[in-house]
Symmetry: C2
């Protein structure tokens, strides 16, 4: 497997991003959806911010207040019964809080490497379902419209919501298309026999592991016929958790999905999955080894180290062009030949 | 509040039900959906069974094996790290198991009190999503068709699936309409401005409490625009968990939903909720006190005591006719005047 990382990685870093307001600092720009739009490469990047300064005896978590339509900072006392071990989350007996709040920004590039990032948030939390922020967008182009799924996080759980745009300048909100808890939703780029499909990752609270499922829709807004597609594999690199990453793209052999998998130690790698072209709920093949693992310094170190996490890829001229979050901190770019990915696939019995 | 319980309660008991196979015993018949069909009252009752006998050093849990298309009995060793405290569930570090497996049977009655129950299962687990059983049906009549939602439980989580029938003799399966974890799905009995609605109860694993949500659909198969309707109320009778119970029915003032609520001690009562007729995602009023609580012996004692749990109600001539599970053991019948229910409602600010 030859992964050609860009020698300018990370191509977008936190210091490239202007904070959304005084008193906030950008701690990460990562997990970007990607699309081609009018010749340019457009990224929709996730920007994570946290409040600056503050009293060391409390932990500051930012929350969007939908009624007041502004960010408020919530102070959590550092009680011994609270769990601060994960830098991303404060766990209390009744509820979890995120240590940062994310919004989305458009970044545009002519060469796919050098990006101009919007100086202010492009899409911000705007509803009560987004009080903990909006995260991890995926972009699916269908005709001239771009459909953006993203995680909407709040005290009501993790929903997946849908926004559409024709130009990445004006956006239409379509509400929550998947109820909590569900994330890592990627919509296929065309209908198959008149039906749209999406991969999704519900979280089962009591009985199961987080698996990748597939759903179908006639209108992209309402989804049903939920079927489980693949699960985690104990003892392998994706034995801890999995989820769809890039939007599936069509190749001769079927639909290729680049998904993320983590081991129980939270090392996030990228894997590949081949689905039947006419019946995408049928898995034809799956990689046993990851196609990409955290290796470069920006991938092994950062806010949450040992993570490569693509939310999007362009497939052009036999090359898969991956835009990926590195350690929940920055955005990297890498190219992998499709043939190399296909060579990792093992036929599913 | 005057709840007129049937003096023949419980009207259906486990000993009225023939086991589905040798080696199984019926431990509960409860949580029944209800409909009027060709003049009769039809119940779709949940029948819970467990394997008889066995080695006391192991705990026997029944599972449906979809590949072999039969029930297999799984022996769980009584390890000290496993939690057997809830009679309904065995909790192990990696997975929960149910102590019984449920199927559904049709019961018919001319007077609504005396029922003839099918001697064999009417609807049995039939897919990999139903390996732990099928539970808690709700029946919505739309035109001449009856739509039945039920919980499909397996190692993949708790889905809600849909089956339809015109006669309760032949049934059409429509797959999982809500992904895991989701239960307590009740479909409204008519479209509103061309859109169908359903109440549902997703389980949030990390961030929220189990709340009642509302979703919309054009075809009853695919659902979207998920919005949170109401939550639990700390310190009140419904402070532990809530979920829709009966199928909402139309009254002059709007849609009346009889829901279940439990306190943290797992005492399950019935409450009422009034939704706007044209905008059912708007809550007009909610009861502060339950309209019905476990009081009779069959409601306070049983397999899981202190539970009244309706999955269905008929609203006829100003009277709400409740068919309810009593202590996860038997089925009770009670009548409540609509006016009494309305008097409990407190307008939502």
């Amino acid at each position: 497997m030859t992964v050609v990382r860009c020698d300018q990685n990370p191509i977008i870093r936190p210091q490239d991003i202007r904070p959304s307001a005084p008193g906030m600092e950008v701690i990460g720009v990562f997990n970007a959806g990607v699309a081609r739009c009018r010749g340019q490469v457009v990224l929709l990047v996730r920007v994570a911010e946290r409040p600056t300064g503050g009293d060391p005896s409390v932990y500051l978590t930012p929350l969007y207040d939908a009624e007041a339509d502004r960010i408020v900072v919530h102070a959590i006392p550092r009680k011994p019964e609270y769990d601060f071990s994960d830098p991303r989350v404060v766990r209390t007996p009744n509820r979890n809080y995120l240590t940062s709040i994310s919004h989305l920004r458009v970044a545009r590039s002519d060469d796919g490497i050098h990006f101009a990032v919007d100086p202010a948030p492009t899409i911000s939390p705007a509803t009560a379902y987004e009080s903990y922020g909006i995260e991890d967008p995926r972009i699916t182009q269908i005709g001239d419209t771009y459909y953006i799924t993203y995680s909407a996080i709040s005290e009501y759980g993790i929903c997946t919501a849908l926004i559409s745009t024709d130009d990445f300048a004006t956006f239409r909100r379509h509400g929550n298309i998947f109820h909590p808890d569900n994330k890592d939703v990627t919509i296929f780029p065309r209908a198959i026999d008149g039906i749209y499909y999406a991969l999704h990752r519900p979280s089962c609270s009591h009985y199961g592991m987080p698996d990748i499922w597939i759903a179908e829709s006639a209108d992209l807004l309402r989804w049903g016929n939920h079927r489980r597609l693949i699960g985690t594999r104990e003892g392998l690199w994706d034995g801890g958790r999995i989820g769809a990453s890039a939007v599936p793209f069509e190749i001769e052999e079927g639909w290729l999905e680049l998904y993320h998998g983590a081991d129980p130690g939270n090392k996030y790698c990228v894997g590949a999955l081949l689905l039947d072209k006419a019946k995408p709920w049928q898995v034809l093949a799956r990689c046993e080894r990851p196609i990409m693992s955290p290796e470069a310094a920006c991938e092994t170190e950062g806010f949450f180290g040992n993570v490569v996490f693509p939310c999007g890829a362009l497939y052009e001229d036999g090359i898969v062009k991956l835009y990926y979050g590195a350690s929940d901190t920055s955005i990297g770019y890498a190219e992998i030949a499709l043939a190399d990915i296909m060579a990792t696939l093992v036929q599913t019995s």
